[in-house]
Symmetry: C2
Subunit: 147 residues, 2 copies
DNA sequence: AAATTATTTGCAAATAATTTGCATTTAGTT
DNA sequence: AACTAAATGCAAATTATTTGCAAATAATTT
C-alpha cells in the first residue's frame, strides 16, 4: 500500500489531468501536500526557494484550479489561499475556521454542505449545476485575542 | 414608517458607527443599497462617475468592513465584492449562488448557518468566537452554459 | 537513443488591485 | 464664525497577477 504522496503516482495523475509532469508542478503539489493549512501563492513561491519562477507558479495555480485539483480559500486577506482538493490520507473535503488577524486556520470536517447544495440547485431559477462551494468561519483566535 | 434608505437615517447611522457623514460615504452606501448584487470596489468607483477618488473608496470600504456595515463576498475573481450587511426591507442575511464565468449572482436566504456556527465554536480548540462566515455556491449559470 | 513537437518555463515588462504620504478640505464642534 | 480632528484628493508606492516571447524540456515518434 503505497503512500498517496508518492512521486510516481503524482506524475501519473498529472498526465491523467492532461498536463506534463514538470518539476514545477511536482514542487507545487508537494508544497501543498506538506502544508497543514491553505497557502497563498506567495507562500508557495517562498517555499520553493527560488527554484520556480513566480509566473510559473501563478500559471500552474490557474491550471490546477481549472482542473479542480486545488481549490481557493478566501482568508479575507487580499489574495487567495489554496489547498489540495483531492482526498488524501485522513484528509477529506472540509471547511475552515480562520483567524482574520494572523491567518491561522483550523479544519472543519463535519459540515455537510452537499445536502444544502441539492436544495440550492433545486430552488435556483438560473443555474442548473453547482461545481464548488465555500464555507468558512471567521474569528480572532485565542492567541491573537490575548494580545 | 420611513424608508430604510432615507438619507437622514443613513447619516445618523454613520455617526453611530463613529464616522462623519461625508458625501463619499453616503455615495458608497447609496450605490450598495441600490445594487441587487455585491459589487467590486471598481464597480462602486465606476458608479460614482469620478465624484469620489478611488483611494477614498478603498479607505471607506475598509472602514465600513471593520464596523461590519458591509461584508466581502468572494466571487472567485481576483478582487472582493461587497454588499450591505445590515438588514434592509425584504433583505436579510443571506448567501449566494455565483456564476464563475460572468459573475451573475442569486441570493440564497434559506441556509441556516448560525446553527452550524454554534457547533463549530463549541468544537474548536483555538477559537472562542466567530464574527463572520461565508457560504457561497459556484457554478455556471444557464446563460453562460448555452454559449 | 536521437529527432521532433507541443508544452512549459524563465525573464522582463505590463496590468490590476490596493495602500500610503501629505497638503488641503470639510463635518461636527465650541 | 472659529476651531479641530477626521476625511479627502492626488500622486506615488506597493502588492498581486498576467502576458509576450525566446529558450528549455517532457512526451512522442522515428
Amino acid at each position: 500500500m503505497g503512500k498517496v504522496g508518492n512521486k510516481g503516482q503524482i506524475k501519473e495523475r498529472l498526465r491523467t489531468w492532461g498536463y506534463k509532469a514538470t518539476s514545477a508542478r511536482l514542487s507545487i503539489l508537494g508544497v501543498l501536500e506538506k502544508s497543514p493549512s491553505p497557502l497563498s501563492a506567495q507562500a508557495i513561491i517562498d517555499r520553493m526557494k527560488g527554484e520556480v519562477d513566480p509566473a510559473t507558479v501563478y500559471r500552474n495555480i490557474k491550471a490546477l484550479r481549472d482542473k479542480g485539483v486545488i481549490r481557493p480559500i478566501d482568508f479575507r486577506h487580499n489574495h487567495a489561499h489554496y489547498e489540495l482538493e483531492t482526498d488524501r490520507e485522513k484528509k477529506r473535503h472540509h471547511h475552515h475556521l480562520i483567524c482574520t488577524k494572523c491567518g491561522a486556520s483550523e479544519d472543519i470536517s463535519y459540515c455537510d454542505v452537499e445536502l444544502l447544495e441539492e436544495m440550492v440547485i433545486r430552488k435556483s431559477k438560473s443555474f442548473s449545476a453547482i461545481n464548488q462551494h465555500s464555507l468558512e468561519f471567521y474569528g480572532i483566535c485565542d492567541k491573537c485575542s490575548k494580545k
